[in-house]
C-alpha cells in the first residue's frame, strides 16, 4: 500500500538524529512491546512477518511518525491481538484508564481491509518447480502500481529500469502472504539501479531485492 511507511526518497525528513551510542531499549516498556510481539505470534495473533509489517503500515501517518519504532510495534501488536479476537480495544482502553491514561491516548491503527479487497501486486504465475523467468544481466522494468494491500516494491523504485544482478531463489510472496493467502512463493532477484534512473541527482548504485511479479523484461531491439 502507499503510505507514510514508504519513506525511501521522500523529502522533508531532514534530521538524522544520529547518535553513536544509545541503549538497546530506552525504557522497559520498549522491551515489553518487543516481547509482546513474540507472544502475539505464539498466541497465533499473526502467522507471518508480512502480516505484522502490514499491521505497522496501517497505523495512522501522524502516529507513525510521532510514536517511534516501538510505539509503532505497540500499535501493530494491539491491532493484531484485537483482530485475532484475543483482546478488545475496549478492555485495553479501560485498563489503561485504570492505570492513569487519558482518553485520547489510543495508539491507533487503521482497521484491516478484507482479503478480497486488498492484496499487493498480483502474481503472474506459480513458479514452484519452474525455472526463474529472468537471468543475471537482464535489463528489467519495475511495474507502475499502487496496490491497496501490502507490497515490498518501494514507491521510489516503481516504473523504473534496472538490471538483474542475482537470482536469490524462491521466497514466500509478501504481497499475498500478508493477506492470508499462504506462501505463494515467487522468485526473488537482486536488482541494481542507477540513481539517475531513479530521478536522484547524486550518482550512486542502489540495490533492491525484488520479486518476479514486480518486474518485466525490457526487450532489446536487435
Amino acid at each position: 500500500m502507499d503510505g507514510i511507511h514508504d519513506l525511501g526518497g521522500q523529502s522533508g525528513h531532514s534530521a538524522l538524529g544520529y547518535l553513536r551510542n544509545e541503549p538497546v531499549f530506552k525504557d522497559r516498556w520498549e522491551a515489553t512491546v518487543f516481547t509482546m510481539v513474540r507472544a502475539s505470534a505464539q498466541a497465533g495473533a499473526y502467522t507471518n512477518i508480512d502480516q505484522f509489517r502490514h499491521a505497522v503500515e496501517r497505523i495512522e501517518p501522524k502516529a507513525y511518525l510521532e510514536h517511534g519504532y516501538y510505539g509503532r510495534w505497540l500499535g501493530a501488536v494491539e491491532t493484531l491481538f484485537v483482530e485475532a479476537g484475543i483482546l478488545t480495544t475496549a478492555e485495553i482502553t479501560e485498563r489503561a484508564a485504570h492505570l492513569g491514561a487519558g482518553p485520547d491516548d489510543l495508539i491507533a491503527a487503521r482497521p484491516s481491509l478484507t482479503k478480497t479487497q486488498a492484496t499487493g501486486i498480483p502474481a503472474k504465475r506459480n513458479p514452484v518447480g519452474e525455472a526463474p523467468w529472468f537471468k543475471v544481466g537482464d535489463p528489467v522494468h519495475t511495474v507502475q502500481a499502487s496496490p491497496l494491500g501490502h507490497t515490498r516494491l518501494p514507491g521510489y523504485a516503481r516504473n523504473k529500469k534496472g538490471l538483474i544482478t542475482a537470482c536469490q531463489g524462491l521466497w514466500p510472496y509478501p504481497d499475498l502472504r500478508a493477506h492470508g493467502h499462504g506462501e505463494q512463493s515467487q522468485y526473488l532477484y537482486t536488482v541494481s539501479f542507477k540513481s539517475l534512473d531513479l530521478g536522484f541527482s547524486e550518482a550512486f548504485e542502489l540495490n533492491l531485492d525484488l520479486f518476479e511479479p514486480y518486474l518485466s523484461l525490457i526487450e532489446t531491439i536487435l
Binding site: 511507511h5 514508504d6 519513506l7 525511501g8 525528513h13 531532514s14 538524522l16 538524529g17 544520529y18 547518535l19 544509545e22 538497546v24 531499549f25 530506552k26 522497559r28 516498556w29 522491551a31 515489553t32 516481547t35 509482546m36 513474540r38 507472544a39 505464539q42 498466541a43 509489517r53 505497522v56 510514536h67 517511534g68 519504532y69 516501538y70 505497540l74 501488536v77 494491539e78 491481538f81 484475543i86 483482546l87 485495553i92 482502553t93 485498563r95 485504570h98 492505570l99 492513569g100 491514561a101 487519558g102 491516548d105 489510543l106 516494491l153 518501494p154 521510489y156 536469490q168 540513481s195 531513479l198 536522484f200 547524486e202 550512486f204 548504485e205 542502489l206 540495490n207 531485492d209 525484488l210
Partner: protein, 195 residues
C-alpha cells in the same frame, strides 16, 4: 525523564497485564529479552566475523560466498538472518545498508537497530543522497570511491565488511574485534586507527 508515565508505557502496561492474566505473557520473558539483547546478541557478534575475515583470507572468501552458513556455524542467536549477505568495502567501493520500508536489520550479527536507523531521516535520505548523508554522519568518502546502497526490501539481510585501518598489522583477532563498530558494519562509519 518526567515522573509521569508516557501514554505509550501506560498502553503497554494495559496490554501487558491483560496478557499476563490470560497466561499469554510472563514478566520473566521480558527480562529474558532485556538480558539477551543487551548482553548476548549485539554488534560483538558481527565484529567477530569481520575481525576473522581481516586476518584469514580463506574465511573472508567463505564469508563473502555464504555468510548464512557461517552465522549458523557460530550459533549466533537473535534471528533475522534467514539469508545474510556480506558486502566488502574497498578503496574504490563503499557499501551502506538501509531498510526504507520498515527497519529490517540482521539482529543475530548486529543486535537490535539503533533509533536513527528506524527513523524517517535516514530511511528517506540514504537512498537519495547517500554521500551527503554519510558526510553529515561524519564519514567523508573520497570522490574516487563509489557508493552502493543496499535497501533490504525482502528477507535477505546485509552486513558491511569495513576496511581494515592502517596501523593495525600487529593486532590479533581479539584486539581487532574490539575496534569494530556497529556503525561501520551498517556502512555509515569507518574503523578508526587506534591511537
Amino acid at each position: 525523564m518526567s515522573d509521569q508515565p508516557s501514554p505509550q508505557s501506560l498502553r503497554t502496561e494495559a496490554i501487558e497485564t491483560l496478557l499476563i492474566e490470560k497466561k499469554l505473557l510472563t514478566s520473566e520473558a521480558i527480562d529474558t529479552v532485556l538480558t539477551t539483547f543487551s548482553e548476548q546478541v549485539g554488534p560483538m557478534n558481527g565484529a567477530k566475523l569481520v575481525a576473522r575475515a581481516w586476518v584469514d583470507q580463506g574465511f573472508k572468501a567463505r564469508l563473502l560466498e555464504d555468510a548464512t552458513t557461517i552465522v549458523q556455524e557460530y550459533g549466533f542467536e537473535g534471528g533475522q538472518v534467514d539469508k545474510l549477505i556480506v558486502k566488502a568495502c574497498s578503496e574504490s567501493v563503499h557499501h551502506v545498508v538501509v531498510c526504507t520500508l520498515c527497519s529490517c536489520y540482521p539482529w543475530a550479527v548486529l543486535g537490535l537497530p539503533p533509533r536513527w536507523y528506524k527513523d524517517p531521516g535516514y530511511r528517506s535520505r540514504i537512498v537519495r543522497e547517500p554521500r551527503k548523508v554519510l558526510t553529515e554522519m561524519g564519514l567523508t568518502l573520497p570522490d574516487t570511491t563509489s557508493i552502493k546502497v543496499w535497501d533490504s526490501s525482502a528477507e535477505i539481510r546485509y552486513l558491511v565488511l569495513p576496511l581494515r585501518p592502517a596501523g593495525t598489522e600487529d593486532l590479533d583477532e581479539t584486539a581487532l574485534a574490539e575496534l569494530i563498530t556497529r556503525d561501520a558494519m551498517i556502512g555509515v562509519a569507518a574503523i578508526e586507527t587506534p591511537s
